[in-house]
């Protein structure tokens, strides 16, 4: 049952209209793009940093945990309130507060949609580089929390390389500025620490980002190979030749066949894999690099090469990659996206291991991922209505994560640890390593105040509150809350 006193105080802080507490309203906020579920006790949509601070203070007084939520596109359960409590949704705080084109800086509220930043500054010949696949929907606040990546991070880095400063609300309900617009602010780099902290240390209310000049020329290549091994060999060869493309993506045969049915990208049905390679810079540079990349791909057995110079042609080459996840939805009722990283040279061996493991578990897999970074995204297709299937898929995910770790890699490259991978943390970090991380949490005083149950190993289940609420709703019958 919702704490009505808490709800009333929240309503006074942000206005009645912006506090949700009816069961049917809350259901919308119990999920993100992962398998986990967790139902909040109330949802608040504040309009300003001051309101966020006030909501945090109220929630803390009532001992309720606070979980921040952007667009809910996260892939590690970052926005799922494991302990119920209050969910702060940032969708009303979606103003671009300032664009300083001369100094290539933008100041954003956390609810601004990623792609809207680049749209807003395009007139100045600028753009915001991190481009997660969900960039049409995902918010900057969520990007900061998860240190989001994307295809073009190969050359330009992830969110953390583009955030100069933050305004955050601490667990005490104080508004604090971290970092700033000017270079090297004296003191510890708390901005760098807050980025990627998955909403467990503070709640972001303002983000200062660095913008880049749009390149003069961009060339996109699609190289199609018979075998996955040939494609991963080409990835290593390109990097080894001293070429760092702006993007270097792999689409495997299973993905290509799914995409072909959905978006008709012109992929041959018997191909093993394709590489999507993009270079940008001065025209002279991109022309030369594109030629080198073509030569490497040909030498490694590419059976077909397509090249796009104009925006329309490049868009067409990207269509298959961008439509991949949607297309996979046609193959199975559910899919589970994994996120692991390996050293680039280990890519061929680990990919082979991924296919073997999926065969062994009897699930089809489609790999579409950031090969240039060694950042794998196996998509395991399954039907969650089949009893036991979800658990088997999670087990398979664990096997694949083990492969990444054994190859010297990491359990997450850009999606975050969240709930699902918290118990894998001890595979790559010692107790002492984790202890130093937990001391950061102590320094921020966040304890279980913000986004509890995430990042750190724990045996506590997520969404216990949620399942209670669901049971209550089910018992009351379908019409009870309509």
């Amino acid at each position: 049952m919702p704490n009505l006193k808490l709800v009333r105080e929240l309503q006074r802080a942000v206005g009645r209209k912006w506090v949700l507490h009816a069961a049917e309203d809350l259901l919308v906020y119990e999920y993100d793009a992962t398998i986990e579920r967790g139902l909040p006790e109330s949802v608040v949509l504040p309009d300003s940093a001051e309101q966020v601070a006030e909501v945090v203070r109220i929630a803390r007084r009532h001992g309720a945990a606070v979980t921040a939520r952007g667009a809910g596109t996260g892939l590690s359960g970052g926005a799922i309130p494991c302990d119920g409590g209050v969910v702060i949704v940032t969708s009303r705080m979606n103003r671009i507060l300032e664009v300083d084109a001369e100094n290539r800086i933008a100041v954003l509220e956390p609810g601004v949609v990623n792609l809207d930043v680049s749209r807003a500054v395009a007139g100045h010949g600028l753009y915001y580089a991190p481009d997660p696949s969900s960039q049409k929907a995902c918010t900057i606040g969520g990007n900061v929390a998860e240190n989001a990546g994307g295809p073009h991070c190969l050359r330009y880095g992830t969110t953390t390389n583009h955030v100069l400063g933050l305004e955050v609300v601490t667990p005490d309900g104080d508004l604090v500025r971290l970092g700033g617009r000017t270079p090297d602010p004296p003191g510890y780099d708390l901005t760098g620490l807050a980025v990627g902290s998955e909403g467990t240390l503070c709640i972001v209310t303002k983000v200062i980002v660095r913008l880049l000049h749009s390149p003069e020329s961009t060339v996109t290549l699609l190289a199609i190979f018979d075998e996955v091994d040939q494609a991963s060999g080409a990835v290593s060869a390109i990097i080894a030749q001293g070429i760092v493309p702006s993007a270097l993506e792999m689409i495997d045969g299973n993905t290509m066949r799914a995409v072909e049915e959905a978006v008709h990208a012109g992929y041959p049905p018997d191909a093993g894999a394709a590489l999507l390679i993009e270079v940008d810079g001065l025209e002279e540079e991109t022309r030369e690099l594109a030629e080198s990349v073509q030569a490497i791909c040909q030498e490694l057995g590419a059976r077909e090469l397509r090249i796009g110079f104009s925006a329309e042609d490049r868009e067409r080459l990207w269509a298959g990659r961008k439509g991949a996840l949607g297309a996979l939805g046609r193959l199975a009722p559910s899919y589970y996206i994994l996120d692991g990283v390996v050293p680039r040279t280990k890519l061929p061996a680990v990919l082979r291991g991924v296919y073997e493991a999926c065969d062994r578990f009897g699930f089809p897999v489609a790999n579409v991922f950031h090969a240039g970074d060694g950042n794998l995204h196996p998509n395991i297709m399954f039907d969650e209505r089949v009893p036991g299937a979800t658990q088997r898929v999670l087990d398979l995910g664990e096997v694949i994560m083990r492969l990444c770790v054994e190859a010297g890699g990491s359990i997450t490259g850009e999606h975050g640890v969240g709930y699902e991978k918290r118990n894998y943390m001890s595979w790559i970090f010692s107790e002492d390593d984790l202890e130093m991380m937990s001391r950061v949490k102590l320094a921020f005083g966040s304890g279980d105040a913000f986004n509890p149950g995430k990042v750190f190993p724990s045996s506590k289940g997520c969404g216990e509150v949620s399942s209670r609420m669901r049971a209550a709703i089910a018992k009351a019958g379908p019409d009870a809350y309509v």
């Binding site: 003191g187 001065l282 040279t345 850009e414």
Partner: protein
């Protein structure tokens, strides 16, 4: 107070006779001489030294080549100099991964020579980098002209091995170029000036060596004109790796390093020629003498730089070096008559421009009175709590950091 002889003998039992450094006076920091100096030969020895220091409350200042020891406040205490100089090897360099793991005591010069063999570089070029060590560069967050193209150490450090104040060997980050597992403690250690842990090993993203490099220079009557060219070059996306601005006699000279494919360098050179009168030049000479007794590092928005430089000129700063696209200007006075009033004036100018000032070098009497990092920022409370958590007994470079942490 632990007796000096017992400190020495305990340390010797940890690092062996060969690990004890005799000349402690040479390792003085801001006039303070340590009781003992050691150069451990393994991470475990570093950890053992820290366990001992932590238990006894002895203050440790880690050091590499000593290139950045002038940065920071006067230490509150200084018992043990901890030199990383014997931990100086490449741990792993897989060229096809474009990453390398190295020990903290390796000099940047040595590392660059090693990487050049594979056609790669660590894209960091702080002045004095030849003798500066990796650990020191990371602790001081030192950088150079290449920052324009590559960012600073925080952008290329993907993993660290750190011995904590309590003497535990820990890891932050990893060995892969993309990694969001857990809090990014690398960010916290980089630039923490040896106050949160002892960096013993680092893993970096590397960059390929450019196929062609060329340095050109252009002279302007005012800093503003030079900064305008810098902005135009950067806006056109020309293949520029670095831009540095320095006064040379009556003129302002903007030196640009062009790097990339030969055709791109050629085109960039041509377009530059259309924007300004440029001439081929050698590498820009270091214009900031090591011996300056007052060295100010002012950080502002790039758009504020011309006005700041003009104001610094009005203060008759004898040496000025600026990175116009980064927004940083160094001003040096080799032998100022009144360092305190000059430093105060520069601080006022910088904060009026919305920036921050660090006195990287200043006379000791001034350093004892004023925090070289200026007034504490809004987030100082959090910083103090981080320091307390990471170094509960205050044994790591106590007093040296912002707000005398």
């Amino acid at each position: 107070m632990v007796k000096q002889t017992s400190v020495l003998s305990r340390l010797e039992s940890i690092v062996g006779r060969e690990g004890v450094l005799g000349d402690v006076a040479a390792l003085a920091v801001d006039g303070l001489t340590p009781q003992a100096a050691v150069a451990p030969a393994s991470y475990e020895q570093v950890a053992e030294v820290m366990r001992y220091a932590h238990a006894e409350g002895l203050a440790v200042i880690p050091r590499g080549g000593g290139a950045h020891m002038h940065i920071g406040n006067v230490p509150a205490r200084y018992d043990i100099a901890l030199s990383l100089s014997r931990l100086n090897g490449v741990v792993e360099h897989e060229p096809a991964d474009l990453t390398a793991t190295v020990q903290a005591g390796m000099t940047l010069g040595e590392l660059q020579r090693h990487l050049a063999g594979a056609g790669q570089i660590l894209p960091l070029d702080p002045p004095g980098g030849e003798r500066a060590t990796i650990g020191g560069i990371l602790a001081a967050n030192a950088w150079g002209p290449w920052r324009h193209a590559f960012g600073s150490a925080r952008d290329m450090t993907i993993g660290l091995r750190v011995v904590t104040a309590e003497g535990r060997i820990t890891r932050a980050g990893g060995r892969v170029v993309k990694n969001v597992a857990g809090y990014d403690l690398c960010k916290l250690y980089v630039g923490s000036l040896g106050t949160l842990g002892v960096i013993v090993e680092a893993t970096f993203k590397l960059a390929p060596l450019p196929r062609e490099q060329r340095t050109v220079a252009s002279a302007f009557p005012t800093a503003g004109d030079a900064c305008a060219l810098a902005a135009a070059v950067s806006g056109r996306g020309l293949s520029v790796r670095s831009l540095t601005l320095a006064r040379d006699g009556g003129a302002w000279v903007l030196a640009l390093k062009l790097a990339g494919t030969p055709a791109a360098v050629e085109r960039s050179r041509r377009e530059l020629g259309a924007l300004a009168q440029v001439a081929d030049a050698g590498a820009p000479a270091g214009v900031l003498p090591d011996g300056a007794s007052l060295l100010c590092k002012a950080s502002v928005l790039p758009s504020q730089l011309p006005a700041l430089i003009d104001a610094l000129e009005a203060l008759e700063a004898p040496r000025l070096l600026a990175y116009p696209t980064v927004g940083v200007c160094y001003a040096a006075w080799p032998s100022p008559v009144d360092a305190e009033s000059i430093a105060g004036a520069v601080r006022e100018l910088t904060s009026a421009a919305g920036g921050t000032l660090v006195l990287e070098r200043c006379p000791l009497d001034l350093k004892r009175r004023a925090d070289v990092f200026g007034d504490a920022s809004a987030s100082f409370g959090l910083m103090r709590r981080v320091k307390q958590q990471f170094d509960p007994h205050g044994v790591l470079s106590p007093g040296r950091f912002v707000g005398r942490l």
